[in-house]
């Protein structure tokens, strides 16, 4: 009880801190210089329509690389953590029903396709590598749910994961070598604004991100699915 009271007290005090923050806060009437720069230069410099994508993939590409790495790390560590907990004798979970299995077979390609669509168009429309990657992962999830007994291909995921990651870094380095700096998307022609094949390397990078994110999620889910019931 004392703990709750203390927690409440602390939270209220923090609330005071936040309140003073809010009371001092006034929304900007105009875009600040940074945002203005993006609004004015992105289309012409990078050729991307979706400014968020441009920022994520190029301007703040290093963050995104780190973000992908976060998922990579998480997947690796979840794998590490759970590796020690793997069941030794495979038990027989109840297989999903016929309906589920069939539905899965039908749905999975569609889901994967949707995922690819989302990340390939990331520079034009809302969505991109992360969202697309999550959609890819949901396809994998479906497979896992439908057929828990079927051994999952870690190898494939691992290769996709590594390939996408390595290529991502290499493209970044290519930017260093061929264009203005690490992760500069202008190593490829910018193309025509608003087209699919435009905005330099952004679609490529976002696709790689999508693949990698999907692979990481899949790997995570796979690791989890192979744990034992406690």
């Amino acid at each position: 009880m004392i703990k709750r009271a203390l927690a409440l007290l602390l939270v209220l005090a923090l609330g005071g801190l936040f309140a003073s923050l809010m009371s001092a806060y006034a929304p900007d009437p105009e875009l600040n210089p940074t945002a203005r720069y993006y609004a004015e230069h992105t289309a012409q410099d990078l050729g991307a329509a979706n400014l968020v994508t441009a920022i994520i993939v190029t301007y703040r590409g290093l963050d995104t690389l780190g973000e992908v790495t976060v998922l990579f790390l998480t997947a690796a560590i979840v794998g590490l953590v759970l590796a020690q907990s793997r069941r030794r004798i495979p038990h027989q979970p109840v297989p999903g029903g016929e309906l589920l299995a069939t539905g899965t077979r039908l749905l999975t390609p569609l889901i994967l396709l949707l995922g690819v669509y989302v990340f390939v168009n990331g520079h034009l429309t809302p969505g991109g590598g992360f969202q697309g990657g999550a959609i890819l992962a949901s396809g994998v999830l479906l497979v896992l749910l439908a057929d828990p007994v079927k051994p999952f291909s870690h190898g494939l995921i691992s290769v996709i994961e590594s390939l996408a990651g390595t290529l991502y870094v290499l493209i970044g380095l290519a930017g260093l070598a061929l264009a203005g700096g690490f992760l500069d998307n202008r190593i490829l022609p910018l193309g025509e604004f608003g087209q699919l094949f435009s905005a330099g390397a952004i679609p490529v990078i976002y696709s790689l991100i999508g693949l990698k994110v999907g692979a990481e999620f899949a790997s995570m889910l796979a690791s989890l699915s192979e744990t034992e019931d406690l």
Partner: protein, 84 residues
């Protein structure tokens, strides 16, 4: 911005707070997880209102979708853990 949109935002926000309170107060752990997912889901709608479609998509897919799923995945492996 239209008053309707503002009113809707307020309502959504209130719903989020209720869901959040539920997430930390309800007795049943699965319900708590669901409530947490619900916060994310409503949040993605709010993001849309706040003109952030990219974020909304991500929040819906990752924040409410995958996260909730991960919770249940883990929870399903730990029978009895929810009572602690």
């Amino acid at each position: 911005m239209s008053p309707i949109l503002t009113g809707m935002t307020v309502l959504l926000c209130l719903a989020m707070i209720v869901a959040a309170l539920a997430a930390i107060r309800v007795k049943s752990l699965p319900m708590a997880i669901l409530a947490g997912g619900l916060v994310s889901l409503i949040l993605s709608v709010v993001f849309l209102i706040l003109a952030a479609p990219d974020v909304a998509m991500t929040e819906a897919a990752i924040g409410s979708g995958l996260t909730t799923f991960l919770f249940f995945f883990v929870l399903s492996r730990m029978r009895g853990g929810e009572d602690d």
